[in-house]
Every structure is written in structure tokens, then in C-alpha cells.
Symmetry: C2
Subunit: 418 residues, 2 copies
């Protein structure tokens, strides 16, 4: 009998070389975050359905994987069967909803504010495309319980330190504030109830351009005068060359001082602790799709890559929704898949020494193990192989799997680079 | 609105202190295995249903989580609906079946023999009980493509090195061979077709004792004379005091020399590379439930714990079943949950230095970040907190979350142990 050896649609198998980079990246990120005072936690992949269905992220709910009821609980003979009759749990679509549940359930045991690290799998049944998989690793830090901009400063500094230690240079962090967007939207004449819808269109600026955003808003029956005023605001703001010029314009435009000051203090303080080649800039075109953001929002860009490789923001209302208690919250997420992809492209890779120890048929198991242990003692990752029939093919496979040295058991001192 | 904050039935949230030990253990195990020449891979949690349903592990299939079809694919109006009409993928119940699929699909890219590391989640809807969770971490190494006992020797040496580096002492590895059991079962008069059934009963020796095994076999209509002869064999074997005495008895009993010699060379070679306080002993009562084992089987015990904390064996037929090509295989699995539990009990824990940096309301964000970075530079995992209202409660929470030092921002040199 023979089976299909390809993984489930939209999922991937990770070969040893890619896995080595993933593990390397994961350790650097975790270590950096731990040094910065964050504590790692882990929640289950299986999550309560009612919790997942109550979230603010409409699209994620449509893309949710659900498990079917087991054993006697599954009654398929029932008339007018609905999906809710046959499903039991959900697979989480992000790490934020489980974090909020975790925090609400364990608050008494945790330090406050609570600073968490999560590096774990999430699931979304998206249409498979380049760089989008259905089972993916999320890499989040969050601060629950800190309302001051210190939370944003700590997140951004820790995140930047992680990118830097991974080997990234020339990183630009773009920052904005949802409250600013809300004020502008109201100022140009829209009703506050239209805010989320308008933000969803504005979020497409990158993809469909100014005309595209205009067309979409008009199509959605938004008032033309308001739309024009809104786009004018962004156009004028774009002409500002520095953060300072932008803030001056915003102040003149009538944006609340406390919103501007919050952005100012975050930028001015964080900048002092960023690696030299990193930049932090105010950018009013950063929107972030999710409806749950309430304040600061930010995205991380590498100059060699079009899409964001990290993002986050403040979501001050979510914990209250789940637990009844108001707890301010900010999160930052590294785009793990893109980061690993870029590390491979940029060749900023771990430097392990992997050696293949070649033995012969006349070697005893004991001889092989003695030689192997000598090499392990010397600090090599040591894999033993019988002298191969096709040496060239053997060496080429070794190289493709990250081996960089080879040695024969009869001459352990003669290590050859491959 | 308020939601249930407990995780899905049978799953657990990991708090920071436990998570720290898990990460520590995972890193030691991965590093040790890598030094021993194993390569880490990762397969998806979502797995093809037909593959999962074709396995040899009957019970695991009953306990499988399955995902429900999404969107238009789910047709609940169909008459005589069956479970197979509504399910799409499965969540893997172990890492062995996915490994075999992975290997069959990527053989040409991988070194041969292929030595893999997998540390990942698997899912079984077991009745929740102490030490059994529905979503659990498996920690496997496997060697695919090595038929000689070198595979067992390498697995056992690498496994023992991992336990030792985690801080375990007085580990006993018990080893047996399925071929030996098969021969004995046939020799006492059973039909070979009864072997698996008899092994399942023999596997309960620990729990139900000799009389229990006898009763169960008789109840299952096994021939009484054969049952008596079988139990007599085990009783006599038990009187042997050393591995040598056992092998002498087996030879006299008529067990094939090649089976005995394989056990002998594995034990004699491996023993030379074990940490001093570790033992490797032949034990005919080690059975292992799964039907897929074809040769050596082994279990790892810590003297302070009743159940095995690691296990494995040879499964030479499984790859052929999935891929059509015969590939010998041996695997070893560390019981990650039990190992972490025992590490906590034995207090063999990571020695991180976690410090709480206390600031005041009159400190600027910049001052706080400067002080934090000084402590990070000194090698501390540094978390900042505003001077708390209830200092005693604050310190007690810190201690429970693994913090061992505290320092005030106005006197960074005065670090206090807590």
C-alpha cells in the first residue's frame, strides 16, 4: 500500500536546514525577550469555541478550524443539523485571544503588569499562497496592565533588540495612533460609527493607491466631500519631512495634544535605545486591520522586503470584554515566517559545526562510538555514516543538510571542509 | 460579558515557572541530540486522515481529533450522514506516522540513514487523569535506514546523555526484543497469529500481576497448558541475577542466537558509554503495547518514579507500509511531561537570574530604560515595576514567578535576594 506523502493542503514540512534556522531564531528571540523581563507562557492549541467566536476579528472566525464531536456526543441522525451541533473545540487563530483568557484565569498568580512571551502555532484556513500557510508560528510579546507609553517603549525596544540580534540591519518601525485616525475621521465630517469601515479601506493604501481608496469609499456610499477632505489630510501630512514637522501639522489640524504627546514620548525615548541603523518614524498611513486596536499601532519593515515583518498595537478593551475587568494591553508580534525567509535570503545564519564521521564495515560498534564521542567532546555535531558507495552524491546530500566537515574514523585528526 | 477562563477539557495552561523548565529541558535535549548527529525536523499538526487511519495503533485512532469540513464542502442536508462525510483533516496522535510520511516524501534530499529529532505537540482525546493530557509534547529521536544494532546503541547513548544533562541520576534502561517474545510464544505452543493479543496481556504484568495475566489469557480462550508454560518461562527467567545468566537461560531454552547476540552487543557496547550511575539491563517483562514493533524494545526508569519516563523500539515494517520501500527504523521517545514533573520534584532546575527593577512615579521613561539596560548588560533577566502599594504581596508573586532578586532604580548597586 502507498500513501500520499505531501502534507495537508496549506501546511508545510520543515527540512533540517530550515528547522535549524527556525530553532536558532526562536532561541535568540526568546532569550532577548526574557532578558527584557518578559515571561514565557503556553496555552493549548485547542480552545473553547465560544471564546474564539466572540473575538473582534471577523475574518479569522470564518477561517477557523473546528474539531468534530467525538463518540456518543456526535448525533448525525438529528433533523435540521447545523454546524454548531457537530463541532466541539476550535483551533486558535491567534495567540492574543488565548492570552487574554489565560490572564483572566491566572491574574492572581502573575506579576502585574504581566509581560508575556508566546511562540506557538496558530491556524487559519486561508487560501494557500506565497508566504501564507494554514498552520503557522506566531511570536508575540504583550504587556497587560500598563496604561502609560512605557509599555510601547519596552515592547519596541525589546522587539528591535531581537531583530538586531538576529542579524537584521536597516529596520524601519512605523508608528501611528488609532485615536489620531478616529479624530481625523470625525473632523472631516464622518460619523464615528463609520470609523472601522473607513480604516479597513485606508489600510489598502499600499495596495490600491489613493484613487483605489477613494473609489472604494465612494462605492461604500461614503460622503464625497468627507472622503476628499480625508484624502487631503493624508496628502498634506505626507509632505512633512520629519516627525517634528508631522506633529506640528497635526497640532495645527486640531488633533488632541495628549495623542500627539504620547506618540512623541514613545518615539523620542525609544529612539535613544535603538541600534544605530534602525529608525522609528511616525506614519499616518499605518492602519492595521483588526477592530480591537484602541491606541498606538506599529509595523516593522526591512528595507529589502515589501511587507511588514512585525506589527502590533494597543488593545485596551479586550481583557474587559472577556473578564469583566478593565486592563490596558499592548502587543507586538514578529512575523516569524517572513523573518526566517529573509534570514535565509540574507544568509544571516547560525554557525554550527556539523561533521560526518565515516566508518568502515570492519569497525566495531565500540570503535565507532569512541570516535563519535571524541568529536562530540571537541564541540562538533557528529553524525556517523558507513563509507558510502556513491561518495559524490553522499557529500552533496550532506552539504544540503548543513554539514560542513567530514572525517574518516582511521584518521580523526584529518578533518576536511566540504 | 464574561467567559469561562479554564482551558479546554483535558488541556493545560503553562504558567511562567513551568514554562521556563520546559524550555530549559527542551534546549538541553535538542542540543544533546544535535551533538549526537540527529537533525531536527517539523511536520504539521494537521495530518491527512487516511494516513492517520491506516496506522497500527488502534486505540489512538479512536482517540483522534478530527476537523470538520469548511465552507461549501460541509453538506449537512445529505441523507444518512456519516462521520466520514463531515470531517476533513486529523490532528496527529503521535510523531511517528508523520515522520514516516515526511521521510517517504523527502528521502532523496536527506542523508541516509536519516536521524531525526522531533519535539512537538500530539493530540489524543483520552479520559483526563493525572499525568495524562489531551494535548501533549512528544520528544522523539528516530533512525531510519540502519538495520544493525548501531542504531539502538546510538539512540540509547544519546537518550542517556540527555537524561544525564537534565540532571537525572540512577536511571535504569530495560531492554527486550519482540523476536524473543515471538519465539517464546510459539515455543510454548501458541499459534503465531495469537502473538499480539498475548503481548497485550503480558504488558499488564506490572499492573495486574502474574495471576491477573493468567486470568485474562484464560478468559480470552487461550489454551491453559500453553499459558502455564508461558508464565513458567517468565518465572524461571526472573531468577537470573545478571544479564549473562539470563542469556544463558535463553540459549538453553532454544531462543535464536542472533536475537540473543543482538541484545548482547547492544548492552555490552552501550554500557561502556553510559554515565556511571546509569544501568542497562535485559528485562523480559518489557513488552510495549504497540503492534508495530518488530525487534528491540526498551523503557527508561528513574528510581523515584513508578512509570517509564522514556521508551522506544524497532519498527522495521512501517516505512514499507506507507511508501512501498523497506526501510529499517528505530525510535526513542522521552516522556516530556513526566520528565518535567520529576525535574520539579527533584529540584533540578535552570539557574536563571531574574531581577525586578523598581522605579517610582517621578522617574522618566528614559531613566527607567537606562537602568533596565544596565542590568540586562550585567546578564540579568530584567523586569521593571512601579513601586507597589502592597510590597509583601508583590514580592511573594515575584518569587512564585521565578524572580530571585530585586533592586531599586535609585540604588542600582544594592541588589537584594528575595
Amino acid at each position: 500500500m502507498k500513501f500520499n506523502t505531501t502534507p495537508v493542503r496549506g501546511t508545510v514540512d520543515y527540512l533540517p536546514t530550515e528547522m535549524e534556522i527556525r530553532t536558532y531564531a526562536e532561541r535568540i528571540i526568546t532569550n532577548t525577550y526574557r532578558e527584557n523581563g518578559f515571561l514565557q507562557i503556553k496555552t493549548p492549541i485547542l480552545e473553547n469555541l465560544d471564546l474564539l467566536l466572540s473575538g473582534d476579528s471577523g475574518d479569522n472566525q470564518k477561517l477557523m478550524f473546528k474539531t468534530v464531536k467525538r463518540g456518543g456526543k456526535l448525533d448525525l441522525s438529528k433533523p435540521n443539523l447545523r454546524e454548531s451541533d457537530i463541532v466541539e473545540e476550535g483551533l486558535r487563530y491567534d495567540l492574543t485571544v488565548p492570552l487574554v483568557r489565560f490572564f483572566a484565569g491566572n491574574k492572581e498568580k502573575l506579576p502585574y503588569p504581566f509581560k508575556s512571551i508566546q511562540i506557538d502555532e496558530a491556524f487559519r484556513a486561508e487560501r494557500p499562497q506565497r508566504g501564507r500557510v494554514r498552520e503557522f508560528t506566531q511570536c508575540d510579546i504583550d504587556i497587560l496592565g500598563e496604561s502609560s507609553p512605557l509599555a510601547e517603549i519596552e515592547l519596541l525596544c525589546a522587539g528591535a533588540m531581537a531583530y538586531s540580534r538576529l542579524g537584521f540591519e536597516n529596520i524601519v518601525i512605523k508608528i501611528n495612533d488609532r485615536r489620531l485616525l478616529n479624530e481625523v475621521i470625525e473632523k472631516v465630517g464622518f460619523d464615528p460609527s463609520e470609523t472601522i469601515e473607513i480604516c479597513i479601506s485606508l489600510d489598502k493604501f499600499d495596495k490600491i493607491g489613493e484613487q483605489g481608496v477613494y473609489d472604494e469609499l465612494i462605492q461604500n456610499n461614503k460622503d464625497e466631500k468627507c472622503v476628499r477632505r480625508l484624502l487631503e489630510f493624508f496628502e498634506k501630512l505626507k509632505t512633512a519631512k520629519t516627525n517634528e514637522e508631522s506633529f506640528e501639522y497635526l497640532l495645527k489640524y486640531g488633533i488632541s495634544e495628549n495623542v500627539i504627546n504620547s506618540l512623541k514620548v514613545i518615539i523620542e525615548t525609544t529612539e535613544k535605545f535603538l541600534p544605530k541603523s534602525f529608525k522609528l518614524v511616525f506614519d499616518s498611513t499605518i492602519i492595521r486591520g483588526q477592530g480591537y486596536y484602541t491606541g498606538t499601532i506599529f509595523e516593522v519593515y526591512d528595507e529589502d522586503f515589501g511587507r511588514a515583518i512585525g506589527a502590533g498595537g494597543r488593545y485596551d478593551n479586550m481583557v474587559e470584554k472577556f473578564s469583566g475587568t478593565k486592563v490596558p494591553a499592548v502587543g507586538f508580534s514578529i512575523g516569524f515566517y517572513s523573518v526566517v525567509m529573509l534570514m535565509i535570503e540574507k544568509k544571516i545564519l547560525p554557525k554550527n559545526v556539523k561533521i560526518a564521521l565515516i566508518y568502515n564495515n570492519d569497525n566495531t560498534f565500540e570503535e565507532i562510538m569512541i570516535a563519535k564521542n571524541i568529536l562530540i567532546q571537541k564541540g562538533y555535531e557528529t553524525s556517523v555514516f558507513l563509507f558510502p558507495k556513491n561518495f559524490k552524491n553522499f557529500v552533496s546530500k550532506l552539504k544540503n543538510n548543513g554539514y560542513n566537515k567530514i572525517v574518516k574514523i582511521q584518521d580523526l585528526d584529518k578533518i576536511i571542509e566540504i
